[in-house]
């Protein structure tokens, strides 16, 4: 027997405030969050030939292509003396994490409208589940990166740098994850309202990849145009990630601070926007 005194009271009003984020409510749905993550994994690998191996296949194949095209055919310089495989793989793994989290988050409203229009739960659960799913995939890929590192250390004479830089890796992952959440949420709201903008998301991502040091290190960019890359808050994070994992990267404390401040501002802005607009979007989609 439940006592009625424990019943929560609630109010539904016409206005939603910018500061409506109900963390307690969000936390009470953590079971749903983890089920959704599990669901993503189950759905993606049910009735597939290679199953979860796809998590590794995709970045491996991309790396092979990049090494072949950029390194062997065109001969793009990657600076320093890192093995190209490690260089490209590390960049691709982190980029994939950002890219996939962003795309999944940006689809929050359009792909879940059938559930959102039938039942209430904190809408933030869905993008959070998407990010966590992508984070787990990222962890698996990082495990392969570590294997590759050890391989090159043993057979390729590559020297592993164990230092304070390694501590920067989890920090980088956190900031990249939150950045993808914030920008993705922004696009999820905007594309729900203006459907034509969803075409823009793909182009945006493609352009963003070229101003992010994924297939080139920052050090090889001409001084005169380096500022373009440095405006991108992802750039220092990618450099820091390589610095931590491989021991080579160009980054300053100021640039890291810029990325963090950028992330905090955009996350605050989009979460506020999400609170304000989330309830109304259902009428528009």
């Amino acid at each position: 027997m439940l006592s009625s005194e424990k019943k929560t009271t609630w109010v539904i009003g016409a206005k939603s405030s910018y500061f409506d984020l109900n963390l307690k409510e969000l936390l009470s749905y953590y079971h749903l969050l983890f089920r959704l993550v599990k669901k993503e994994f189950l759905i993606n690998y049910q009735q597939t030939l290679l199953g979860p191996l796809w998590v590794l296949f995709q970045p491996v194949l991309t790396t092979v292509t990049y090494v072949f095209v950029f390194n062997k055919v065109i001969g793009v310089s990657i600076g320093g003396n890192l093995p190209p495989v490690l260089f490209y793989f590390s960049g691709i793994v982190l980029w994939n994490f950002f890219n996939e989290s962003f795309s999944a988050t940006a689809k929050t409203f359009r792909e879940n409208i059938h559930i959102f229009s039938k039942v209430y739960f904190p809408r933030l659960i869905v993008p959070l589940a998407a990010i966590i799913t992508q984070f787990l995939r990222f962890l698996i890929q990082v495990a392969l990166l570590i294997l590759l590192l050890s391989y090159f250390a043993i057979f390729g004479g590559f020297k592993i740098h164990l230092g304070w830089h390694l501590l920067a890796v989890p920090f980088v992952v956190l900031i990249v994850g939150l950045l993808s959440l914030s920008i993705g949420l922004f696009f999820s709201i905007v594309t729900a309202k203006y459907r034509d903008l969803s075409n823009f998301v793909d182009i945006f991502l493609r352009v963003l990849m070229f101003v992010t040091p994924v297939i080139y290190p920052l050090s090889t960019v001409k001084e005169s145009i380096r500022w373009i890359v440095q405006l991108n808050p992802l750039a220092p994070l990618f450099e820091l990630f390589r610095l931590g994992m491989l021991g080579e990267g160009t980054v300053s404390l100021f640039q890291i601070a810029y990325s963090v401040v950028f992330m905090c501002c955009s996350l605050t802005f989009t979460v506020l926007l999400f609170n304000k607009q989330g309830g109304k979007l259902i009428d528009v989609i």
Partner: protein, 431 residues
């Protein structure tokens, strides 16, 4: 539950001046260029909205639609409130607002306790996942917590009868199994306030009965609050203690269930004696059958004669048949106001070709009792395969007529036939 039941029932939901505006056409512009243009002209250079047409040339696509207007009411703990109204009267919008799915344009809803809303069967289900996985994901989506699901898991499986297929992806389930599993999850929710939309009535008769039975348990035995939307006024009567009648987004009447339902039926009565459709596309039906017309013609001796139990009633129907060389049988179901079936009158099957088919069936005078009745028409192929079931297509009310009988109690029974008696005195002595 215990303590507060002893005190007089408290309000668990208070709806205060709820309105909901849908801007038809305006939001639908859906293009950024247009919205920026509007915003620029309106807010920056203070000109008129270039897309806002003056009142002299109204644009029908951009009219405002008030789905709900200034609706206020209260629901007490343990109430079973039925919400009735014709299509587009705002019933579903009201439920969606109370369920926190859409936001009201103005107004406020206050509530107490956990709300579960069932606007669909199988919310959160995913075809690729197994039955087991879906029980969890659907349960969590509907607001259960882990403890509740684990506690009820076996019950849910038992109730659905799908033990053997628990680890099979539900896309391989039959539709019956799917619905049973989905309903099993719903049936084991334990909210303080249960909100149910009419979608539940979509399943087969057996399923509907199960739903209604469960909802009756929830409201009457467990004392929870239920809000229930249905087209089926019979179901509302059966289940609810109170009813709320919405008409074009406004609260028309709220009060004791049978009284409100009666008034509602009386208001739609003139429409429900006769329904017809001009075009095939609008007509109710499916790929086999579409109804063109359905009408109840009372054979009144004079135009002023009341529609009472002495009047023979002819039900005339006209439908399009889209299949050549098909064997059809038509069945007429008559229900009381409370949903009991009085008879199921089946025609003999005969073969028909594509085109319009007309028919009629007469209920003789002095057969039905006074009261409200519903007619449903079923069209079967080869006597047993249901092609289309047109539910509650006619509703009517028969007045009482007692004649020389000086007794005014309620006449018992759904029918009041006058089967002849044969009575004679067989003896004159009392020995």
């Amino acid at each position: 539950m215990t303590s507060s039941k002893l005190i007089m029932a408290e309000n668990v939901i208070e709806v205060q001046n709820i309105s909901k505006l849908y801007k038809l056409g305006k939001i639908g512009s859906g293009s950024l260029r247009r919205d920026i243009n509007t915003w620029w002209k309106k807010s920056i250079i203070k000109k008129n909205d270039p897309y806002f047409l003056s009142e002299y040339e109204p644009d029908p696509s951009s009219l405002d639609l008030w789905a709900l207007k200034d609706v206020s009411f209260e629901v007490k703990e343990g109430d079973a409130l039925g919400i009735i109204g014709s299509n587009g009267s705002g019933k579903s919008t009201l439920l969606k607002i109370i369920s926190r799915i859409v936001q009201p344009t103005t107004g406020l809803v206050r509530g107490r306790g956990k709300v579960s809303s069932i606007l669909e069967v199988g919310t959160g289900f995913h075809g690729e996942l197994t039955g087991r996985e879906n029980i969890f994901i659907s349960g969590y989506t509907l607001g259960m917590n882990k403890q509740e699901i684990l506690q009820k898991f076996d019950e849910i499986v038992d109730f659905s009868g799908i033990e053997k297929f628990l680890d099979t992806p539900i896309k391989r389930y039959s539709s019956g199994m799917y619905v049973r599993l989905a309903f099993a999850v719903i049936a084991h929710l334990e909210p303080d306030i249960l909100i149910v939309d009419e979608v539940l009535a979509v399943g087969d008769a057996d399923f509907q009965k199960k739903c209604l039975g469960k909802m009756r348990d929830v409201s009457q035995k467990e004392g929870r609050t239920v809000l229930f939307v249905s087209h089926f006024t019979q179901a509302i009567n059966n289940l609810c203690t109170k009813a709320l009648w919405l008409k074009q987004g406004q609260l028309q009447e709220m009060g004791e269930c049978a009284a409100v339902v009666n008034k509602y039926l009386a208001s739609v009565q003139k429409f429900s004696l006769k329904q017809d459709w001009d075009t095939i596309n609008e007509a109710p039906g499916n790929d086999f059958i579409r109804f063109k017309k359905i009408e109840l013609v009372p054979h009144l001796p004079t135009p002023e004669h009341p529609l009472d139990i002495r009047v023979p009633l002819t039900i005339k129907f006209k439908f399009w048949n889209f299949t050549d060389d098909i064997s059809l049988a038509i069945g007429l179901h008559l229900f009381t106001f409370w949903g009991e079936c009085i008879f199921d009158n089946q025609s003999v099957s005969a073969t028909y070709n594509k085109g319009l088919i007309e028919g009629e069936c007469t209920i003789p005078a002095n057969f039905l009792n006074d009261g409200s009745y519903f007619v449903s028409i079923i069209i079967n192929r080869d006597t047993s395969i249901q092609l289309y079931y047109f539910e509650e297509c006619i509703a009517f009310e028969l007045e009482d007529y007692r004649g020389e009988i000086k007794w005014y109690g309620k006449w018992m029974g759904a029918v009041r036939p006058r089967f002849p008696f044969k009575i004679e005195q067989t003896s004159y002595s009392i020995a």
